[in-house]
């Protein structure tokens, strides 16, 4: 369902990218530009870029050794040690149905916190922090029936740049409910991969 366009970056509008961009000038002109913007962090899963609300991101860490947990949902790779506390890791490739890949130097674990629950997202890379106006975020779920679509409930449209925003609440609900993405129960495992 996602096209694996290598040229994602070229579609971005450069002027709107960056953490430190100032909107409007400091003399009070262009006050409109100072509207509330939500910050999102761009992550790469496979070759695709997705956005994640930055409010839910606690920290970004290197990939630590992951301990496999039997009978956990298929898209949970296991748990890892984050300064003494044990945090589950969600494999975003599997979550979104992107095909297998290896860990690279760019791979990171994004530790997110939603509803007082910490969990890590294993991603293939981090891109940029984006400031989006509320008008640039469109609530809409993707029509796709395959895995992954259900975790994207809104889409960012900034000029030519279009990108799906991951819904952490959904991910959490599915993860905590132990619902397997492929409909198998967790015990039977996931051979459909």
């Amino acid at each position: 369902m996602f096209d694996n366009d290598d040229d994602v970056m070229s579609r971005m509008a450069p002027s709107k990218i960056g953490i430190f961009s100032i909107h409007g000038d400091l003399d009070g002109q262009n006050k409109d530009e100072f509207q509330d913007r939500d910050q999102f962090i761009g992550i790469k899963i496979g070759k695709e870029e997705f956005l994640l609300p930055i409010a839910n991101v606690r920290e970004i860490v290197m990939v630590a050794p992951i301990t496999y947990v039997p009978f956990s949902p298929a898209f949970i790779d296991g748990v890892f040690n984050l300064r003494g506390s044990i945090v589950p890791i969600v494999n975003t490739r599997k979550l979104l149905g992107v095909k297998r890949g290896g860990l690279t130097a760019a791979s990171r674990v994004i530790v997110t916190r939603y509803d007082n629950i910490n969990f890590g997202l294993l991603v293939d890379g981090i891109t940029y922090v984006r400031n989006l106006l509320p008008t640039e975020v469109e609530q809409r779920s993707l029509p796709g029936k395959g895995t992954g679509a259900e975790f994207i409930t809104s889409i960012c449209k900034q000029d030519n740049y279009i990108c799906g925003i991951l819904d952490l609440a959904r991910i959490l609900t599915v993860a905590a409910g132990g619902v397997n993405l492929n409909g198998d129960n967790a015990v039977e495992g996931d051979e459909a991969a």
């Binding site: 630590a64 301990t67 496999y68 748990v79 890892f80 040690n81 506390s85 494999n91 290896g102 629950i117």
Partner: protein
């Protein structure tokens, strides 16, 4: 005069808006039946506003607080509602301002003493309207001194500053003086009632004398006021303040001096004018104009007469347990409150016991009184009215004791303990954040009666013969009648700090991480030394790393000890339980304590309390016989219970030993057979028989003895102790007594476990589930149907392969990242181990209980380790077979298996495949 604008703005707001509303409200309340007089939110809001303004003004008038309070005319006004305000405020007209300090304060205290009788009705509002009884004899001037600091200390809810009783009492007086300073400002308004009311409430707060009952709301009000007055003595009082205050004081004085309202009004005005002129500061026309209505309004208030004013009020209303205020809605403040009150309750519990032993010990009484007072103050500040109310009565009672008016006997102490129990319930309710519905009226009445030297007849208090309960010293180190006090003293002597548990856990985690870093440092150091042996920096590095390692070890040990607390606090409360039980059961019981200094994890100390209470109750109920029976059996009349704790390696052993009648194994066995718990021909050791007591459905209460149980069976005790990863054991000899031993791990979190490996993954098996681990050759495995079994000690054990049960083969397929990541995580490639397994013998870990054993085939036995078990978090709660995770020395997480679930899973898989 810079505050003119502010002053008049505040005055305006106070006089034109808030006070009239309050007056109106009070008027309506006054017409309601007493039961309906619950303060509503509107009222509360207005009060808060008024208090804010008063607080503001008290800042301006601050310095005058002492100026305003000099001595009072000796003849007490007969109109009660005005009495106090008048006493305080009227003074100004009579005396000169020069004498401001001690005499003034004395007079305040004096007027308080005097006013107190007037205040003896329970509800401040009701009191205002009904209570008009006058002319209490003026008590002799109190000779204590007070300081502002003490008042401040009180305001902060701390009694650390108030080290002696006078300060307690007089800091109140001082507070009143402060109140007085702000009082005048409300006077000119046409709601006289309110200012009086306020004053009354403050007065009611006074803990002085023989009237046990004061206002319900008084303390809270007063404290709120106190809290509002952040600046009790600012130096910035201008000329204007004095003028203003004096004028107002004069107004207040009027109704007292004159007998008719009209005259009062007149004179008030006249005097006020005169005074104003005299002061030369009369620059505030609007206020002057308002003085007339104020004075006239005052008159109706004093016209209400309530004829009766009993020492013990006839009826009390139930009041709501707590109301929200700024303090109680602040979680940090609430935590402080709860932990402080917890300590205070402990102090009260132990000191009251001491008081019973030694009713005249001044120090004990003082410490009780201080604790009670502080608790009351804090409760008031937080708006927990019910606590405050009960506490107040108790404080009054203790005050009588302190003054020597009342010598506490066992009955008094009983009532006090009942009161403490009610308080505990109320505090629990506060902790839970919802009212418990505990009724305070009975205990309030009981306390009042006790203060008057009367007692309500009840089962417990009906017995007039006080039972001697002592806790004598055991082996020179334990118990003793004065032990609780000693403990309390010791704990206050130690300088301690309270730390949020969450922070502490974070610290423990971080130290754990540092330990891992240290390991890495050592390997780096090793590398450097080997690759550059000639470099001097490598030598320095080695040294530093070694030093770092040593410090790290020390820190680690220290941090692990932080969570440990002595078990003594839990033990101390049993003294109280034994006392109550021996009175209830008509038995003579002595409790001997030993090893209270033994330390164990705080969580454990908290959770072991309930099972211990149950066991001790059992010992009292079923163990110790009645004195007559004991004598007949040739024993001492007084039964003994030993409670001791000691450390043995990584465990704590708690024993409860009594010299009662013991448990008859035959009776238990017979009952168990009757109940069908064991077959009739069962051959059991005595120990097995005693363990039957812990079986669910085996109630010791009805079947073994005739004393009723407490609703919690021994099976619950056992369950609780197993939850704490502990063991419980009974030994008993008929006629000689019973010993119950509880064996607990030092900390909850640390668990001994066996580290095994299956399919390249490490797993920890809790050692308490492991029977043994063996190596077998593949030939020894036999097949029964689909199931592999081995024979061990003549028994057939089903075998399960851990990697099969946990479905570890699919692990590779589940990872959507390359296998490299797996090799990254675990050093040894799993293929090597598999090869190992085929050629060599198999490792089998035998787990389970006596009749339900399984062999678990693993690839490798790694080591035996102490692990800190942590939760995997809510997301992973559905993951079966896993009890939790533990962070290993190398920073990796190892899963701790739940063996029961593993066995269940194995059975399920068998059933499915069959």
């Amino acid at each position: 005069m810079g505050m003119d604008a502010l002053t008049s703005a505040a005055f305006d707001s106070l006089t034109k808006e808030i006070l009239p509303k309050l007056a109106e409200y009070l008027a309506t309340v006054a017409h309601l039946p007493p039961e309906d007089r619950e303060p509503d939110t509107e009222m509360a809001v207005m009060l808060t506003e008024a208090h804010e303004l008063l607080g503001l003004m008290s800042g301006w008038f601050g310095v005058d607080s002492s100026v305003l309070t000099p001595s009072v005319s000796e003849e007490l006004p007969s109109e009660l509602s005005d009495a106090d305000a008048l006493d305080l405020l009227g003074a100004e007209g009579v005396e000169n301002i020069t004498d401001i300090s001690l005499s003034g304060k004395r007079s305040v205290a004096q007027s308080l003493d005097a006013g107190d009788d007037d205040l003896s009705d329970d509800d401040a509002m009701a009191m205002l309207m009904e209570n008009n009884n006058a002319a209490a004899p003026v008590a002799s001037p109190s000779n204590e001194e007070l300081s502002d600091e003490e008042a401040m200390a009180l305001m902060m809810g701390s009694d650390s500053a108030s080290s002696s009783d006078p300060s307690d009492e007089l800091s109140d007086a001082d507070a009143l003086a402060m109140m007085a300073a702000s009082e005048p400002s409300s006077a000119p308004s046409d709601s006289k009632e309110i200012s009086d009311d306020e004053a009354m409430r403050l007065l009611a707060e006074m803990d002085a004398p023989p009237t046990p009952d004061n206002g319900n709301m008084s303390d809270e009000e007063a404290l709120r006021l106190l809290a509002a007055m952040d600046e009790p003595a600012t130096a910035s009082s201008g000329e204007m303040n004095d003028t203003e205050a004096r004028r107002l004081l004069e107004e207040m004085d009027a109704p007292v001096g004159k007998s008719t309202p009209a005259a009062a009004a007149m004179s008030a005005d006249d005097e006020a004018m005169a005074l104003l002129l005299q002061m030369g500061g009369g620059d505030d026309a609007p206020i002057k104009a308002e003085s007339k209505p104020a004075a006239t309004k005052a008159a109706p208030a004093v016209n209400h007469h309530a004829p009766s004013n009993d020492h013990v009020s006839e009826h009390h209303e139930e009041i709501s347990e707590f109301s929200q205020n700024d303090f109680s809605s602040d979680p940090d403040m609430m935590n402080d409150f709860l932990s402080n009150t917890g300590d205070l309750m402990d102090t009260l519990d132990s000191t009251v016991l001491q008081l019973e032993q030694n009713p005249k010990d001044k120090e004990t009484i003082e410490s009780i009184f201080r604790a009670a007072h502080t608790l009351k103050g804090a409760a008031g500040m937080f708006g927990f009215k019910a606590i405050e109310r009960v506490m107040h009565r108790m404080e009054n009672l203790f005050d009588l004791v302190r003054k020597g008016t009342l010598v506490p006997d066992a009955n008094t102490i009983d009532v006090v303990f009942q009161g403490l129990d009610v308080l505990k319930k109320l505090l629990e309710a506060v902790q839970k954040g919802k009212p418990s519905g505990t009724k305070t009226v009975p205990i309030v009445r009981a306390l009042e009666l006790a203060a008057a030297g009367k007692y309500i007849k009840s089962d417990q208090t009906a017995k007039s013969e006080p039972k001697e309960v002592a806790a004598p010293t055991h082996d020179g180190s334990g118990g003793g009648g004065d032990k609780p006090g000693a403990t309390a003293k010791k704990s206050s002597d130690q300088s301690t700090i309270k730390v949020d548990l969450e922070r502490l856990d974070t610290l423990v985690n971080l130290v754990g991480e540092l330990v891992i870093d240290r390991t890495r440092f050592i390997s780096i150091e090793d590398e450097i030394r080997q690759s550059h042996p000639q470099m001097s920096v490598s030598g320095n590095m080695s040294e530093t790393v070694q030093l770092f390692g040593r410090h790290m070890n020390e820190i680690h040990d220290l941090v692990m000890k932080i969570r440990m607390v002595p078990i003594g606090n839990t033990f101390t409360k049993f003294t109280r339980i034994i006392r109550d039980l021996s009175r209830q059961l008509d038995k003579d019981i002595e409790l001997y304590l030993d090893g209270e200094d033994t330390e164990l994890d705080k969580t454990l100390v908290e959770q072991i309390g309930d099972p211990l209470i149950h066991l001790i109750r059992n010992s009292c109920d079923h163990g110790i016989e009645l004195p007559a029976v004991r004598e007949a059996a040739g024993k001492r009349r007084t039964g003994k219970i030993f409670l001791s704790a000691r450390q043995e390696g990584n465990h704590i052993i708690i024993t409860i030993e009594d010299d009662g009648k013991g448990i008859n194994a035959e009776i238990i066995k017979k009952k168990a057979i009757e109940k069908g718990l064991i077959p009739e021909d069962a051959v059991l050791t005595t120990r097995d028989v005693f363990n039957l007591i812990f079986e669910p459905g085996f109630s010791t209460a009805e079947q073994v003895t005739n004393v009723s149980g407490r609703g919690v069976g021994m099976d619950v005790v056992k369950k609780q102790i197993s939850k704490l990863k502990g063991l419980i054991d009974i030994e008993s000899e008929v006629g000689r007594g019973t010993t119950i031993a509880i064996r607990l791990p030092l900390t909850l979190a640390i668990m001994q476990s066996l580290l095994v490996e299956a399919s390249g993954e490490a797993f920890a098996i809790p050692l308490n589930a492991v029977v043994e681990s063996v190596r077998i050759s593949p030939d020894e495995i036999q097949k029964v149907g689909e199931t592999e079994v081995i024979k061990r000690h003549g028994r057939v054990l089903p075998l399960m392969h851990l990697s099969d049960v946990l479905n570890l083969q699919k692990k590779g397929e589940e990872s959507w990242y390359s296998q490299d990541s797996r090799n990254l995580t675990h050093g040894k490639p799993s293929t090597q181990i598999r090869a190992h397994k085929k050629t060599d013998k198999l490792f089998v870990v035998i787990v389970g209980s006596t009749d339900n054993r399984y062999g678990i085939v693993v690839d490798q036995l790694l080591s035996q380790q102490e692990m800190v078990i942590k939760s995997l978090g809510p997301i992973m709660k559905n993951a079966g077979c896993v009890a939790g995770g533990a962070v290993q020395g190398n920073g990796e997480v190892v899963l701790v298996l739940d063996i029961q679930e593993v066995m269940d899973e194995f059975r399920n898989q068998r059933r499915k495949s069959a």
